[in-house]
Structures are given as C-alpha cells and as structure tokens.
Symmetry: C2
Subunit: 606 residues, 2 copies
C-alpha cells in the first residue's frame, strides 16, 4: 500500500506541472451555443497543434455537434465497431490539454464520437455533459396490454424522429439510419432497473404466424404475440439495432495511448457504445464521473459505463455514479491473444479473438509476456517482446526475446504482463444497469472500498477468459472492503456479490495451479433476497471475513444455490460473517478439491 | 502531336533508367505454387522497404492467396467500397519495383486485393494472370423453361461453394459471406454479350404472391415468376450481391499516387470491382492487358475493365483485350467537387458527391483550379490551390490563391485543371460487356485509333457531369480515327458509336458557351443495325468525316432515331461519310441552335 500511495503522489505531482496554462475562450472563435460548432471547433483544435498546456474554456451553454463537417479518421476502438469515426473533439498528440466545459452541455447528433484522446499526455476533461438529441437506444413504454390478444401497446419515445412499420418490422428512425429491434431488454419503471426475469419479456416474434407489429399513430405501436410473458403496463423496452457500424459505433469518450488522464465532473447521458473506453493508457483518474439517463429516458448508454483494456499505472474512480446503462459499470482487464502457430525463429503468429477487439494494440517492443496454456489457462514461460508486426486487425507476428527450449504442446496463448493497472475505487455508486457492477481482472493492486453496488448480474466479477473475449488475467492482490451490495442479481437470482472464477470452455481443464490469488472480501454489507455471498473457483488465498448479509424482500426470497460456493480453492478463510434474518437455509458448499480452508465464527449459517 | 511524341519519348526514357535491377527469385523465400503464400510474400515485400530497382521473379506456377494472414490497411479506393483492405502485393513507396510473374497465375480466395501500388515510381507489373477461386459474380445458366408455370430452371455455377434458399431468397455462398441476388443481368451464350433487351430478363419477383425460388439440388434452382419475359434456354444470369463492403470490394489492381507505371501482358479473369483502377497517377502504360472470362465462366470483372480518375501525364493502352466485364471498358476523367459554401478568406467548404468517390484526393497545394457554375457547367474563374484541409471522406476545406472580386451567385463547383492526362489508345479490342466501350473526358490530348469497339451502350461516350458522379470535364482535343465499331448499342438500339454531351440535371441549363471542344471522328468503320453514327450536344469544333457505315443484320434493324443528331453545337463538319446498304431512312437532325455547320458529300443519307 505504501508504494501505491507514493505512486499516487507522484501521479498528482505530474498533474500539477501544467501550471502555466494558456486559456482560450472558444467564444472568441465563433463557437457559440445554439448552432453547429463542429467545424469551428475542429479548426480551432487543429490550429493548436504542437502547443502545450492549453485550456479550451466553454462559456456555459448548449453546444451542438453534427457529423457533416466533423474531422474523421479510421479508428479501431476496442469493444466498439471499428470504422471511420467522425470526432467532435479530436485531442490528438497534445501535452497538457484541458477541456473545461464550465457546466455546458455538448449535444450530439447522429454518428459522431464526442471526444477522442489519442497519443496525449496530461489531459484534463471537466465540467460538461455529453448528450445526444436522439439516443442510440430506442425506448418503448407499455401503455396497455391485452391477455387474450397476447398484445401490448407502446409509446415510442421517438422525439422528433418517428418510426415506421414495414414488412411487419418496426424501424426506428435515427439521424441518418434506421434501426430494427435488434437486442433488447425490458426495464421496470419502479426500480429503473432491468425487470425481474427480464428474459421473459424479450421482444421476439413468438410465432411465425401470429406475431405482428402494427403502427397505430406517429408515437404508438401495437405488438402482438411478441413476448413469452405479457409485459406489465409501464414496462420500458430498450432496443438497439444490429446495423453494421451502428451497433456500437460511438463511445462517449475514448482514451487511447495516452498518459495521465483526469476526468472530473462529467455527465454522460447517452452514448452509442460505452460512456468511457480506455485502452493502452497509463494513469486515469475519474472523479464525479456520472453516467445516468436523462429525465425523459430510462436508459443511459448502449454499453458499459467505463471500460479499461490493457492500461497501466493507476485507474482511480471516486464519487462516480454509474447507472441505467445496458452493460457493466466498470471493466478493467488485460488481454490474451491466441497463438495460431509457432513459426520458429522465436516468432508466433497470433490472433485477436473477439471481433470487437480486432485492431487493438496487444503489445509493443519491451513488454513482458507470459506464454500460457490455452487448455489450463496457466502460465508456462515468461519472455519479452522484441518486435510486433501487425498483419491485419486480427493477426500479428510477435517475435520474443526467448522461447522455451522445447515449445510446449497443446494450444497456447500470450498474455501481456506489462499493461496491467492498479485500481482504486472509492465512494462510487453502480446500480440499475444490465449485467455486472464491476469486472476486475488485473495483476495490479486493487482496492475497492466504500462503494454501493446493485446490479442485475454479479456485483463484482473476477473472471479471466481464454475463450471468447480473451480478457486476461489472473488477479494477485484484490481487496474489497466496506462496500454495500444491494439486491445483487435481480436478473434471475443466480448471481453473487462476488464471483471469482476463470471461465472455462468445454475443452479447457483444471491444471496444477490456481488461476487467481489473494482476494480479500471483508466487512461489506450485503442486502440480499437470496443470501448469496461468494462463489469462487481456482483461487489461492481467499479471505471472506466480517461481512454482514441481511435479508431484503425487494425480490422473491430464497435460493437453490449455496451462499458460499468454493471449488478448487486453496488457503481460504471464511470468518465472522453474519447472515441476518434469513428464513431459509444458508449453506456453505466446499468441494473436495479445496485445500487449507478455515471456516469459523460465521453466524446464521446452516 | 509533336509535343505528344516528345513526351512519350521522355516517358520511355524514364522507364529504362531502372537498369541495374536486383532480381529476387521468390522460391528462395518459401513462396511456392500450390499453397497459401500470402504471409511469406508480405514478409518478403516488407523486408525490401527502401530498396530500389528490385524485381520479384515468380517461377511459373499457380500461387494461392488467402485473406487470413494478409497485410491490411484502411483504403479509400475510388469507384469501390472504402474499407479495410487486405492486400496480397502491397507495393507501397517503392522506386523501380518490378513484379514479373513469368506466366504464373495468382489465385485469390475471398476478400483480398491482389495488387496495390501506392506512392511509388517506376513500377512494372508483367506476365501474370489474376483469378479468383470463386468469382464475385454469381452465374446461373438457364437449362429449362416453362411458359405455363412462368418458370425456368438454372444451373448455379457454384464451384465448390454451393448456395442455399432461405425465406424464398437464393443466397450464393462465397469465401466467408453470402450474396443475395442484388443487381443482375442476362447474357446471351451465342454472343457472350448482354442479351438483346436484357432488361426484360431482370431477375426480380414479378408478383409478391407467386414469385418463388426453389432449390432442386446442390447445383440446381428453379425460379417462378421472376422475370418479365421468360429467358431462353442457355441464357446466363450474372448477379452480384449488395452486401456492404462486398459490392465493389476488390479491384484487381489499384494504382494510386504513383508515377510511371507499366503494365504488360497481364490477364485479369475476375475481380470484385474493376480489373484496374488508377487515381492520381502520372503516366500509365498498358500493353497486352487482357480482361476476359475464364472458359467455365461468362463474366470477367464485376465492374469496369480499366478506370482512370484524376491522372496526368499519358495514359496509353495498346493491344489490350477488354471483354465480358459488367461495366465500361475504359473510363478516363477528372473530377469536380461541389462547393457547399464559401466561407470567406478564399476558402471553400467542398463536398465530394458520389459515395464511391469519397476519400479520393481531389487536389493538393499548387494544383490549378477552375471555379465553375453548377448550373451551366461552364468555367468562371481560374485559380490555384493554396491549401487543402480534409475534414472527412466527404468534405474538405480548399483555400485558393485568388477568388473573384465578387463571388458569383448560384451553385458552384471546382474542377482540378492540373490532373488531366493525355490518352493514347491503339489496337485495342473492347467488346461483349455491359455498358460503354470508352468514356473519355479529359482536357488532355486524346488519340483513339485502330481499335475495335462493340458495346451494349455507347461506343465512345464523351460526357462530363456535374450531377451525380461529378466526373469532369469538357474535352479540348480528341481524335477518334480508323477504328471499327461493331453492332454498337445492342442493349436496346438507342446508343451511338459516339455520344459527346455533358449530362444535365433538370435544374441545369445551357449557358453562353459550349462544354466540349475539338472532337474529330474520322475514317472509322461502323457495322450497324440502326445506322447510328454521332450524337453531339454542346460541342464546338466537331468533325465527322470519312466514316463508312455498313448495315449488319445481327440485331433487329432500323431506328426511330437520326443517324447524326446535333444540338447546341458550333463549327461542325459532316463530310464524306458513306452509309451503305441501309434499307431504312438515314437522317441527319440538326437543331436550330447549331451554328457554322457544313454538311457535304455524304452518301446514303436521306
């Protein structure tokens, strides 16, 4: 922890060095509220090339941004659709660039990325709200339902754009495209969260013959035989299209290849992807970063609130509110790449597995690598990158300093050991979203304290997969303390406040060693309808102590699953946890393959 | 003409300067017939970076190229779909690079561009054939038809890929995608050309209720109520999909920003776009460049055989055979960009109009520009580019040296006067293709002699539009002599061996001056079923002399249109043309707005 604090100190010292700021009032360059300022802003930013310690100051107001005259460049944006991106604030290769919105709203129209920070140092973004005239998510509110007809009527939140029904399909009009229904999810207006057992309300024709969509008027449509269960009046459907390039087009903010990034007092009300995606950045600090929905909407962003791939230094989140997004609150991880073939001469032909990671920078010269088994997901041999030759977005040649005397048989992958960050999360609220609260898989030091989590799936997921997304890796030092977990897993009651387990495919298997290490889950308060606490697999060094778990009645109570479930773990302490008020059995299930376990002084366990 | 010959001499002198070639036998680098050599070839080319006067020599054989390990980069390719392009031969920034296939076949699989020459000088490509395992064009041969059922049965040329029928749609399997029917055209096996009145056989459901496609077996399908007229047995349908990124993905050869390019003895049997597309190149010489279909196919390329946008120096085609492609034989033109808005400070906000020109380089610093009226398409003011700032693929800011004292009212466009080539075409055969033989709109000197044309639409089209494609511009010196035009316009009998006319939109109008100048169409032999010779609009200086037009009976004879039609022309000579054997009236129609016209000593005219 001492190193951690020292590091943070050095970090903040670095941030104050940009003291001789030149401040530019954008109004002096024709950038004024109430009109499209995209071209003027680009011309201004372009004219600042090479300048240091610049602050762009926006007099408070609402500024409009349209795609027509926006700067554009082809971008691979991890976890988004790679494509030509129009960018309103292209902050490329700056040192000491500050964007101060002074409480302004930046209002976007159509397919445009608000802010991209690329190849920069000491960037500060602060005091503004990002919103879209028309959200990328289409919302439908149920106003009537009819059991006999198996139908329900919806208000389409179309704002001025409208919709049409064609060939028995509903098409939502957007700035210059239409979305079909695509993926979708039902939300409960009472909780502003995904509705309990939301999958029963998935919008999909239930029968080829009777399923039908009828346009009633400009804002009303009727769905017949479209859901397994009839949605209650008030239900809000969130749908987003599958159109290529529009499915996850636009993050709110993209940080890439940049060092020392500070984001303060920013609100993101909508985005066509994540609110914030960061890749290959060193040091990112978020304070009062808010992702929420606008008053007239239920949903905020199309995907995660925040996501960090292959970063290093420290990622710090404090005082953030992340809610109403259609995916996780925060996800911090490294990456594996598949070894397609060993070509000899210390060179591996490697492949990035998931299409939405294609084009990301896996590693560069000098990065430490671990050669891994793709069967056990365990490390085999440590080496260093000598050269990376990118062939295409999917494949690359990686030449390393040293290889094992005999190349191991079986499927292999590579893990980048250099680009793992420390994580510090304090006083954040993550709630009312689809999916998980936090996914944390980094080899760095992790402290998660004083936060509030309430998520549809797991509260905190410590996973690592060598499978689909190839998100690495095994953790080494995670402390989760003094947090509140409220009604975790209100999707279907099967999730846990903490799940720590690598994700195995059918042809992957347990090896000789554990995947995760040193996870301390202590002194948290859990308000729970099912008593679930921790599910752990392949963890060495797991401490679950001093947690208080109290029954709530917000969702159907009870569970068929154990409160604590341990599989292939080692050095485990389960101590002084109190289960309060549960009127059903609270079980701890320990598989025979668990070694060195202490379970003592827990209350309320059967 | 003297300048022209001098220039050619200088050009060829330049070509011989790469005399101290180093020749590399690719076999020494593991590049051998019968296997995927994409990665090995890329590694070899990559290792040659910075070297001059290199010859890559391929021992004769068939080499395979697949997309998986190919070099990839985002490319705007004019007249094609812009996208990430995998490229087998990325010849980037070389000086004196020679690719000598020694008679080899380069066989491509899937979405991959065979050859891209970018930013290079003195490049020679020779002695190879480009082919694809599976053509981008889907061919269907009619084996039976049934009038009562309004049906016909087809053999699907599926090679090993096959097809499926799903939701009453036929889907042709390709390397890693499926094509729906999309655009299509029927060919006549007797002529190997588009069938007479091909639009009657357009594949489109004729009735929502009865139209049907049935899969009979792995290579047979039946179409019911799908064409206006029932296609004769033997008819070959060519169809190509609409899938984004696959519609015009891959040209055979892309020349871009390169000087002194020689292409000799190359055969292109298939391509997912044009066989050759060149943009912003200086000097391109083609000798024995052959575009044709493979013996087991009817169609060669998905689009034009050759196309040149915004080139300069000389474009020379000799001894070429261009046939069976689904678009024009050759198209040489410059480009206009629309002026969206004059921003003051000598800066225009400009827009590239057609989506398949987005991203092309319209002009660079130092290029001469003409400010044009977009209403009359006539020149207004000549100036020079001081700076171009590209905003995005569609829009740019162009700052010029001088603007008119008073900016003219009305819609404007800009024409690049610097990037216009001379054209020399000699002894080429262009035939049996959809669309036109040659489109030539360049301000350079043009000589077209001793060629054979036989096209579905116009033989030679001298157009220029400020409308859809924004292909400039008015010609100044064109000589078309001693060519043979055979059964021109076998699409529907409405086309001409020569049409010279700008294309006007409804809101464009004749101005004070003519658009084209100095076109000499002399001593050509025309074998014609309708007697059509020349249609000209807005041409000053038109000479049509010594042409012999003979009747053929290959298609239905006769015409409702005049043999010669003149509208808004000036300084016209129609002299000593002989119409032979026509058994229907041959008319010359001259509008009242034509000035200074001599019509004399023509034979066979009524």
């Amino acid at each position: 922890m001492k190193n951690f604090i020292t590091f943070m100190f050095v970090l903040f010292l670095g941030f104050t060095s940009s003291a001789q700021n030149e401040t530019i009032n954008v109004a002096d360059f024709g950038i004024k509220p109430g009109k499209d300022v995209t071209l003027e802003l680009y011309q201004l930013i372009d004219s600042l090339e090479g300048k240091k310690n610049i602050t762009l100051f926006f007099p408070k107001g609402q500024y409009e941004f349209y795609p027509e005259n926006a700067f554009e460049v082809y971008r691979a944006v991890t976890n988004h659709d790679n494509s030509l991106k129009k960018i309103a604030f292209p902050i490329f290769n700056f040192d000491g660039f500050t964007l101060d919105g002074n409480g302004s709203t930046f209002m976007f129209h159509g397919k445009i990325v608000p802010i991209t920070v690329e190849g920069s140092r000491n960037t500060t973004l602060k005091n503004f709200t990002i919103d879209w005239e028309k959200s990328f998510v289409n919302e439908l509110t149920v106003t009537e339902n009819n059991k006999e007809e198996k139908s329900f009527t919806v208000d389409v939140a179309n704002e001025k754009f409208g919709f049409e029904v064609k060939n028995n399909q509903i098409l939502f009009n957007h700035y210059d495209w239409q979305d079909e229904i695509g993926q979708n999810m039902a939300f409960d207006p009472a909780t502003r969260s995904p509705i309990w057992q939301t999958k029963n309300y998935y919008l999909k024709p239930q029968s080829h013959k009777t399923a039908k969509i009828v346009k009633i008027d400009y804002k009303t449509a009727k769905f017949i035989d479209y859901t397994k269960s009839l949605p209650p009046v008030g239900t809000v459907f969130a749908t987003y299209g599958n159109s290529p390039g529009a499915n996850r087009f636009a993050p709110g903010i993209h940080l890439s290849n940049s060092k020392d990034n500070v984001l303060n007092n920013i609100t993101v009300l909508a985005a066509g992807g994540m609110a914030l995606i960061a890749e290959r950045c060193e040091n990112i600090s978020l304070d009062t970063f808010i992702v929420t929905s606008r008053d007239d909407r239920t949903i905020s962003t199309r995907a995660d609130a925040t996501h960090f791939l292959g970063c290093k230094g420290t990622i710090k989140l404090e005082n953030c509110l992340l809610e109403h997004m259609l995916d996780d609150g925060i996800n911090v991880h490294g990456a594996y790449v598949k070894v397609e073939k060993y070509l000899g001469n210390s060179t591996f032909l490697c492949e990035t597995s998931h299409v939405q990671q294609w084009g990301f920078i896996f590693g560069e010269k000098g990065d430490e690598l671990m050669l891994m088994s793709r069967e056990t997901i365990l490390p085999i041999f440590k080496t260093k990158i000598k050269e990376v030759k990118v062939l295409n977005e999917r494949r690359m040649l990686i030449t390393v300093a040293e290889v094992p005397a005999k190349m191991p048989e079986g499927k292999l992958s590579l893990e980048n050991l250099t680009w793992y960050p420390d994580v510090y999360m304090n006083k954040n609220i993550i709630r009312e979203n689809r999916a998980r609260g936090a996914l944390i898989t980094t080899k760095g030091k992790v402290i998660i304290e004083n936060n509030y989590f309430s998520s549809q799936m797991h509260g905190i997921l410590i996973e690592g997969d060598n499978n689909k997304w190839y998100e690495s890796g095994g953790v080494e030092d995670v402390v989760i303390r003094n947090n509140t977990f409220n009604t975790i897993g209100y999707g279907n009651g099967e999730s846990y406040p903490l799940l720590a387990a690598p994700l195995f495919t059918e042809d992957q298997r347990i090896g000789d060693d554990k995947f995760h290490r040193n996870i301390d889950f202590s002194n948290n308060i859990i308000k729970s309808f099912n008593g679930h606490l921790v599910d752990a697999f392949s963890v060495k060094g797991l401490k679950v102590t001093g947690n208080i778990i109290e029954l709530t009645n917000d969702y159907p109570t009870g569970s068929t699953l154990p409160a604590i479930h341990l599989d292939f773990c080692e050095d485990v302490i389960i101590e002084k946890n109190q289960f309060k008020n549960f009127n059903f059995p609270i079980k701890i299930e320990v598989k025979e393959n668990v070694n060195s376990i202490k379970i003592k002084r827990n209350k309320g366990v059967k």
